[in-house]
């Protein structure tokens, strides 16, 4: 009986492999290796199993000229899954809103091609291949960590497919090529905003830098070591932290020994929350200053009252009294997903919005979409988005502070 | 000049003297046995001969070469090959492969000969395979050539171990209780087989409990008890030696009176 099952297993696998290959249709024309910009790869051979996006409605009564897809590759399994889920939710919301308002997009039915890249570079590269070889895909939105995003971008550049990232802050990200855009602020801007807040609100104090050992953390740290001395503040200590660390006893001891009064927390909430909790347990007056990724409901749920008074530069404000559009979007996102959006999720929403806008204007042509986006003036939910010559979006920063468990907008003029 | 000359080797494990001051020698072409009750230190002597343990004192000369303290690999190169008390064959390899592996030390070709399959490599491999078949023929295992070592019956596995020892082209064969666990028929054919080895010019050093085999086959016998030599000589002398009897069978009432102690 045992031998039977093993034979069945490998037969089944061989069959599915054969079926996978049989799914390919040989190409009509041979592809010449000329410049990727103007040829889209031949066979419309999307991989055997179709992606399970929910808006798979058949084109209605002949009015739409076919289907256009936006590719989304995010981690949906592994320990970055919940960040990936949010980007996916924002993308789906963007498509839903577009359908409610416009119905079709440039005469095409809009679909999302969502893939799980398991937060691994190999997977991201394979998915990039799927997206570029699918003729309907007109743009892609990229992943959570820079190692996955950066292994996919060469493929997009090689084949000429626009790739917008809502999370990447790696300095060399947009240097890959002219098809790669970034709808996220660069660490230099982020660090500047955070330093400015501390300088103006708290004043010149000895500061500590707590940064996670990944490309974003290291860049922020390098930038701050240059800028902080010029602002009259002194750096007491700087401590890197490796991924999935839970114990910060020793790091905190170093900061306290160096007499730091303010700690710059350059890490995502899942790393910074235990740090803040343990620090607050030992020292109640210390103040924290975060970065854009600290503007996240999870920070408050995980730290509770420990992060009271924490300063966070924000490019986005939930339930903002000052900007009605932001308020409406927060409400819509909350009703759809049951959680307040993070700035990364909002940027994902705008990325998809931009691509749909481009398709609506120039139709189903990847190169034209690229040119359109390069010089776009997109009235996004976050702000009016334009790209500079290095294809980075410029962001305006609002100041936020945590007060009794809520992010509250700080009026800048008070401290000017 | 004896082929193997061992004088007063001794070793102790944590204060307990397993073997103390044991000397013996083996002439070319002779069958010598070492017997003694369990725990007398026979296998320890073996392990010292083959380099598994390093004797605390004494010297072991083989063919005039002092091999006390040499690594097991060098001792095998000198020409001493052994079998094991509990069979240690390469179970998942074929019978003929077990024998060919025995010839490992004499296969003289380098890494690049192997890579480029040079003539030197091919002739050496062919010679080894041919010689292995001859040895299997001699040992009477040629019909099992292609079987896997673990599928052989117990008696044949013993013979394969001996065949592997022969393959190292050793001058002295050390057999560690080859007849252990064999019925009378099997030990009979084993005895016959060892005698044929003697005719073929092999020198054999034997450890055995089966008195029938030892008495019929050995030219000389040494008796070991608690690590000390208590008797040596021809089989007939050993059988009647009172000390050997007491060592083996313990003191009978008459024996004690006769000895008068």
């Amino acid at each position: 009986m045992k031998k039977i099952i093993s034979i069945i297993i490998c037969l089944a696998l061989c069959l599915t492999f054969a079926a996978a290959c049989a799914g390919e249709k040989p190409p009509a024309d041979d592809n010449k290796g000329n410049t990727p910009a103007d040829n889209n790869p031949p066979a419309d051979n999307n991989p055997p199993e179709d992606n399970k996006d929910d808006t798979n409605t058949p084109p209605d009564d002949g009015s739409s000229k076919g289907v256009v897809k936006i590719g989304v590759f995010v981690p949906l399994t592994g320990d970055r899954a919940y960040q990936g889920e949010r980007t996916k939710a924002a993308a789906e919301l963007a498509v839903q809103d577009w359908k409610d308002t416009h119905g079709l997009c440039g005469g095409y039915e809009v679909e999302l091609a969502i893939y799980d890249d398991k937060n691994s570079p190999e997977e991201a590269a394979s998915i990039a291949e799927i997206l570029v070889s699918d003729e309907d895909v007109m743009g892609a939105m990229g992943s959570q960590s820079s190692s996955t995003t950066m292994s996919a971008t060469p493929v997009f550049q090689e084949y000429g497919l626009v790739c917008l990232s809502n999370t990447s802050s790696h300095t060399d990200y947009t240097k890959t090529g002219n098809y790669i855009f970034r709808n996220n602020c660069i660490n230099a801007q982020e660090a500047e905003a955070s330093i400015e807040m501390v300088q103006k609100i708290i004043g010149p104090k000895t500061v500590g830098i707590f940064y996670s050992m990944n490309d974003w953390g290291v860049n922020v740290y390098n930038y701050m070591t240059e800028v902080i001395p010029k602002t009259g503040m002194t750096i007491g200590a700087a401590e890197p932290v490796a991924d999935n660390t839970d114990d910060f006893g020793t790091t905190i001891a170093n900061f306290r020994a160096a007499g730091c009064e303010v700690i710059f927390v350059a890490a995502t909430p899942d790393i910074s929350s235990p740090f803040i909790n343990q620090y607050r347990a030992l020292d109640s007056e210390v103040q924290f200053s975060g970065f854009i990724n600290s503007y996240d409901e999870q920070l408050i749920t995980l730290t509770g009252k420990n992060c009271e008074g924490m300063l966070v530069p924000a490019t986005w404000f939930n339930w903002s009294e000052l900007d009605q559009r932001q308020y409406d979007f927060t409400k819509e996102y909350y009703d759809y997903y049951g959680e307040e959006p993070t700035s990364l999720a909002v940027q994902a929403y705008d990325c998809v919005g931009m691509m749909l806008d481009a398709i609506d204007h120039v139709g189903k042509d990847r190169a034209a979409i690229r040119d359109y986006i390069e010089s776009i003036e997109y009235d996004g939910v976050q702000c009016v988005l334009t790209f500079n010559e290095t294809r980075d979006a410029s962001k305006t920063f609002a100041w936020a502070k945590v007060e009794n468990g809520k992010f509250v907008q700080v009026d800048r003029s008070q401290y000017e | 000049m004896p082929l193997l000359d061992v004088n007063n080797i001794s070793i102790s494990f944590g204060g307990l003297a397993a073997v103390s001051g044991f000397s013996f020698h083996v002439e070319e072409g002779e069958i010598v046995s070492i017997i003694g009750p369990n725990g007398a230190g026979k296998t320890t002597v073996f392990n010292m001969l083959t380099g598994v343990y390093k004797p605390d004192a004494g010297s072991i000369k083989f063919d005039g070469v002092e091999c006390n303290g040499l690594a097991p690999q060098e001792i095998v190169k000198l020409g001493i090959a052994r079998t094991f008390q509990n069979i240690r064959l390469y179970k998942d390899m074929r019978v003929i492969e077990n024998v060919i592996v025995g010839m490992h030390i004499n296969q003289k070709y380098g890494f690049f000969d192997m890579l480029l399959r040079t003539k030197k490599f091919r002739t050496c491999e062919y010679e080894s395979a041919k010689r292995a078949q001859q040895i299997l023929e001699m040992v009477g295992l040629s019909q099992h050539t292609h079987d896997y070592a673990k599928n052989l019956p117990y008696g044949e596995q013993r013979k394969l171990e001996i065949a592997r020892a022969i393959a190292t082209s050793a001058k002295l064969l050390i057999l560690d209780e080859p007849a252990a666990g064999m019925n009378t028929g099997e030990s009979e054919s084993l005895m016959h087989f060892i005698r044929t080895l003697k005719d073929k010019g092999f020198t054999i050093l034997l450890i055995e409990h089966d008195m029938n085999v030892v008495m019929n086959i050995s030219d000389r016998i040494y008796v070991l008890n608690y690590g000390k030599k208590i008797a040596e000589g021809l089989p007939e002398e050993i059988v009647s030696d009172p000390q050997v009897i007491t060592a083996y069978l313990g003191v009978t009432k008459e024996g004690k009176d006769a000895a008068g102690d």
Binding site: K2, K3, I4, S6, I7, I9, T16, A20, C21, E24, P26, P27, G33, P42, A43, P47, E49, L76, T77, K118, S120, P121, E122, E123, A125, S126, E129, I130, V132, S146, M150, S151, E158, H170, K175, N214, D215, V218, D243 | P72, Q73, V76, F84, R88, Y90, D92, M93, R94, E97, V101, H104, Q107, M114, R117, R122, T123, Y126, A129, T145, H146
Partner: protein
């Protein structure tokens, strides 16, 4: 029911025996199929999958020498993979070398790693050896993370060029990279075939079966085990270089423990101690996640389940088996008679 299972498993066994007997015909046939496969106009996604399969076959082949033939279960093979990838990436991306010119140095540095693991573990056996190898891989990953000047630390190395042979760039587009990998796999297979059918291979297998007996039969077990480690690490390093060139961006976190476990599973699922095992193991373990792409959450659960079921019903691996065919005696060299 009993007889039905028996004759079906006998059918499978006779099928394998048939393939073994007609090896001389089947193997060239398979190579031919592998050669024309990319020309059938697959999308680059499938080509990249095939390249992944070839990569894991070759690194599985290298690890098989250690696990399957010598019985040293190393859980840290990603260390050599990482050393090879970084050496090649640094030389090609930063110093502008040609990819193929870096391979000898890659093999050298990787085998240095091999010696560093091989020597201290001579006296260790079983789980202790596996853990030391796993620890070594973690240490290598940390060195890559902290050695900012050489490996650029967590920022990783970007835009690693594809290999180019006399001016022709081998990439997935013109399928040149696939053929380079195919040649690599066949070379490694040939090398391991030559190695295992010689006194070196027999010595390694003897060490796996019974190290003490092998030692007492005159085999210098220590140096052979280190030799096995060096060969395995050198080959893994070279395959790591190809991986870096294919993925074009590497950073310390792309060389985690999962990679070692995946390589070990390729060897074990395919069939330890066989030449053909890693081929099937790689095909299954690379395709399995792709086929399960639809079931996001379930994917890894099914991968784990496949491992457990495989170990339960066919622990020797799908293609692992005791060949009933007679042992191939070497034919006399043509001019043996002349001597």
């Amino acid at each position: 029911m009993k007889e039905k299972t028996m004759n079906l498993s006998n059918a499978f066994k006779s099928f394998l025996a048939f393939c073994d007997r007609w090896k001389a015909v089947i193997i060239p046939l398979l190579i031919a199929v592998a050669a024309i496969l990319p020309q059938l106009g697959f999308s680059t996604y499938i080509i990249r999958l095939m390249c992944n399969i070839l990569i894991y076959t070759s690194v599985g082949m290298a690890l098989n020498l250690l696990v399957g033939y010598t019985g040293l279960v190393s859980l840290g093979n990603v260390a050599f993979f990482c050393i090879g990838a970084y050496t090649s990436a640094i030389l090609t991306a930063n110093c502008g070398w040609n990819f193929f010119a870096t391979l000898p140095i890659v093999a050298l540095t990787a085998s240095l790693g091999g010696v560093m693991v091989g020597l201290p573990t001579l006296r260790l056996s079983g789980p202790f050896l596996s853990i030391t190898a796993l620890g070594f891989a973690e240490v290598i990953r940390l060195i890559a993370m902290n050695f900012m000047s050489l490996t650029n630390g967590p920022l990783g190395i970007r835009s690693i060029p594809r290999p180019n042979l006399f001016g022709l760039e081998l990439n997935l587009f013109n399928k040149g990279f696939y053929y380079a990998l195919l040649v690599l796999v066949l070379l490694i297979t040939l090398f391991i075939y030559l190695l295992t059918n010689s006194k070196y291979g027999r010595a390694l297998r003897a060490i796996k079966n019974d190290e003490i007996a092998a030692g007492l039969m005159g085999i210098r077990t220590g140096s052979y085990k280190v030799m096995a480690f060096v060969i395995c690490s050198a080959l893994s390093g070279i395959v790591g270089a190809f991986y870096a060139s294919m993925i074009q961006y590497i950073e310390p976190n792309s060389f985690t423990q999962d990679n070692s476990i995946l390589t070990l599973s390729v060897v074990v699922v395919g069939g330890m101690g066989t030449l053909r095992g890693p081929y099937l193991g790689a095909i299954i373990l690379v395709l399995l996640p792709e086929l399960l792409r639809g079931a996001e959450g379930l994917r890894f659960v099914i991968y784990g389940l496949a491992l457990v079921l495989m170990m339960r019903f066919r622990p020797q691996g799908i293609l692992g088996w005791k060949s009933p065919l007679p042992y191939k005696l070497p034919s006399p060299p043509r001019d043996a008679g002349k001597r």
